[in-house]
């Protein structure tokens, strides 16, 4: 990308101007807000809606917010849902078909996909990586997903780097954060929040990452006072990232992880996990890269109209693994194994990248707190020692 990546610094008023400019240019802006005791993504028109002073306390099966009265607006990690519901809707009407009489032709009406410009403000680095994953699957494969394509077009992605990771984050292990990687090019602006509790409000280092991003920054410069970054600012930013990185508690050894997963298919650990797993599907619903759906056709009472709906589905559902008349993964052990093996193993074979971006949502939002990072070392040890000697039970 030929854009010059010169960052500018704005204050909170400047951030409001950025939101105003985005709206004036016809974007619907979305951003993080505190809704029902969690950080949720909602339409945003004012920076006052951002979670000022809020931070999160996340653990396995546990999420709490508290306000520590810091000046920051982005002092927390990811909330329960990524941007996935806005890009890949949980339920979607795709088609209706009508045939009033047996002799008539079938009228097919394909549901229009969404239109309009949008801007996502506050996309975290791991979430941006997750959008890269969804792009690979839904846009670059042999079959392009119409609904996803239209949701992804006319979209401005504004990343806000993480300075306060949660205890469930492991982006450093997956190479996806806490700062956006140089290798990712799908976003438009990169923002880092600088909070100095002694000298008033937060400041924002804004770096263009695309031509559109640079244009927005030009408009911003003409509407509000921006200042150039000083050497001290650069040092503060680096120190902030080092603090963020060293505060990350969870780690995954990704060396040959694909092979470890493939070698683990008979491990007895899957049956042990199945004793705890509720097969509730929360982990797949909150995972920003899980993309599976099912399609249902529903007839009306007269039998003349059929509506086709698509909805999120999950490899933890029995029905989802039904082939012909029976499920191919009838045990919970086999369904859990399928999920984790796909995320960390076979995703590489299919798409040449990891299916996991280390956001930690599946750890936090699992009602019984199953933590994949805690299970991988045992799989690795068994795989390296030539497999687990215990027979896998209850599995198929």
């Amino acid at each position: 990308m030929p854009t010059e990546r010169t960052p500018v610094i704005i204050d909170i008023k400047g951030l409001q101007v950025l939101v105003d400019v985005l709206i004036e240019q016809g974007n619907e802006v979305f951003g993080p807000q505190v809704i029902d005791d969690v950080i949720a993504i909602r339409p945003l028109t004012s920076v006052d809606q951002l979670p000022a002073g809020w931070t999160d306390d996340q653990g396995a099966g546990r999420y709490r917010l508290h306000n520590d009265h810091s000046h920051g607006r982005f002092g927390y990690a990811v909330g329960p849902q990524a941007w996935k519901p806005l890009l890949h809707e949980p339920t979607l009407h795709t088609l209706s078909m009508t045939q009033s009489h047996a002799a008539d032709p079938v009228e097919v009406h394909v549901t229009a996909t969404r239109k309009g410009r949008r801007a996502f403000l506050g996309v975290r680095p791991c979430e941006l990586e997750a959008i890269v994953r969804l792009d690979t699957v839904l846009l670059r494969g042999p079959n392009v997903d119409r609904a996803y394509r239209s949701a992804r077009s006319d979209l401005m992605l504004i990343v806000v780097n993480c300075t306060v990771p949660a205890s469930t984050c492991f982006c450093t292990a997956m190479n996806t954060g806490p700062r956006v990687s140089e290798n990712v090019t799908i976003h438009d602006l990169e923002i880092t929040e600088l909070v100095n509790e002694h000298d008033g409000g937060p400041r924002y280092v804004v770096t263009p990452a695309s031509r559109q991003g640079a244009e927005i920054l030009d408009v911003l410069g003409s509407r509000t006072s921006t200042v150039a970054m000083t050497n001290q600012d650069a040092l503060d930013i680096e120190a902030g990232f080092r603090r963020a990185e060293s505060s990350i508690e969870r780690h995954v050894d990704t060396k040959e992880l694909h092979d470890v997963m493939i070698a683990s298919s008979e491990n007895a650990l899957w049956a042990e996990l199945a004793d705890r797993c509720l097969a509730c599907g929360n982990c797949t619903a909150v995972c920003p890269t899980c993309f599976c759906t099912s399609v249902n056709e529903i007839t009306d009472l007269s039998g003349t109209t059929t509506e086709r709906w698509r909805h999120w589905d999950s490899c933890f559902s029995l029905e989802f693994s039904r082939v012909g008349n029976a499920p191919v993964r009838s045990s919970v052990a086999s369904r859990y194994r399928h999920w984790l093996t796909h995320k960390l193993g076979t995703w590489h074979d299919q798409f040449d990248e990891s299916g996991c971006v280390g956001c930690g949502r599946c750890i936090t939002w699992c009602p019984v707190g199953i933590d994949l990072t805690a299970e991988i070392p045992a799989l690795r040890t068994a795989a390296l020692s030539g497999g687990d000697s215990r027979p896998a039970s209850g599995d198929q």
Binding site: I35, D36, D37, V38, A40, G61, R62, Y63, R64, G79, P80, Q81, P85, P90, T91, A274, D275, R276, C277, L278, A279, C280, G281, N282, A285, V286, N296, I298, T299, D300, L301, S302, G303, H311, W312, S314, S317, L318, E319, V332, T364, W365, C366, P367, V368, G369
Partner: protein, 271 residues
């Protein structure tokens, strides 16, 4: 749903009968509540027996029987055999008909003692020892869950019957509905006990949408791991008595929830 068994005239719409056993009528009201669709329904179905809605009572056999309520008296027992013999397709509706309902709380206790406390003349009361689901006695073609049932799901079952296809009723957990609605988990984010992860979807996550935990009124989901949820709920601070009460709700007599309640009860009585 299985194909029709009994002969019927082919030039008339299929007949519908709605039957009540031990129940509150709430599920039948869900049918009357289908206001917008009622007209279409009577175009495609002829209502032959539905005392809650119409005084016309046409004799059987019936193409579709909807049965509400649990089997609770010797008279119920006689009737359910008759209804089954007179119905091509029999669908049970609601927690009472599919799992015994809240009245199944009496099951396994001293029924004579209950009667002596509740009724002035217990000798006039004829009852079975247990209130049980219809499927304990007769073949059921489809069980529609809920307390009460969801009217959208009821319409789907009727539409499926009319077009002779299997109903699209998902048996995944309530969590799936919670997450599709974008509701944050009340258990993870609030520490509120919730049966959602092991409860059959269908309500659209009604209770969590109001910040309450799921009461399990749609009964067990397709693979309910109640032991693991019991442990998690205990970690959230529920003692064994509270756990037992949570499971013994509207679907408390379903084998899975009953085992979970017995488990908690058993632990309470451990020395």
């Amino acid at each position: 749903m299985r194909p029709r068994l009994l002969p019927r005239p082919t030039n008339t719409p299929p007949t519908l009968a709605v039957w009540k056993f031990a129940s509150c009528d709430g599920c039948q009201l869900s049918l009357l509540d289908c206001e917008d669709e009622l007209i279409a329904m009577v175009e495609h179905l002829s209502i032959a027996y539905f005392p809650e809605a119409s005084s016309a009572m046409i004799g059987g056999p019936y193409d579709l029987s909807l049965v509400e309520g649990s089997v609770s008296t010797p008279h119920h027992l006689e009737r359910i055999y008759q209804i089954r013999a007179n119905s091509n397709t029999l669908v049970t509706i609601g927690a009472c008909a599919t799992a015994g309902g809240i009245q199944a709380l009496r099951n396994g206790h001293d029924i004579d003692e209950f009667m002596s406390i509740v009724y002035a003349h217990p000798e006039y009361v004829e009852t079975l020892a247990a209130a049980t689901p219809v499927s304990d006695y007769v073949d059921v073609d489809f069980e529609l869950r809920g307390c009460p049932i969801d009217r959208g799901q009821l319409l789907e079952v009727i539409a499926a019957f009319l077009t002779n296809r299997p109903p699209r009723i998902s048996s995944v957990s309530v969590c799936v509905e919670c997450k599709s609605r974008g509701l944050p988990c009340v258990m993870v984010a609030g520490g509120t006990p919730c049966l959602g992860p092991v409860t059959h979807a269908g309500c659209g996550a009604l209770c969590p949408a109001y910040g309450r935990g799921c009461y399990g009124c749609f009964g067990p989901s397709e693979s309910p791991n109640t032991d693991s949820l019991n442990e998690q709920l205990a970690d959230l601070g529920l003692d064994n008595r509270q756990l037992e009460r949570l499971w013994r709700g509207f679907s408390g007599w379903s084998p899975e929830f009953r085992a979970a309640a017995d488990n908690a009860h058993g632990k309470d009585n451990e020395p």
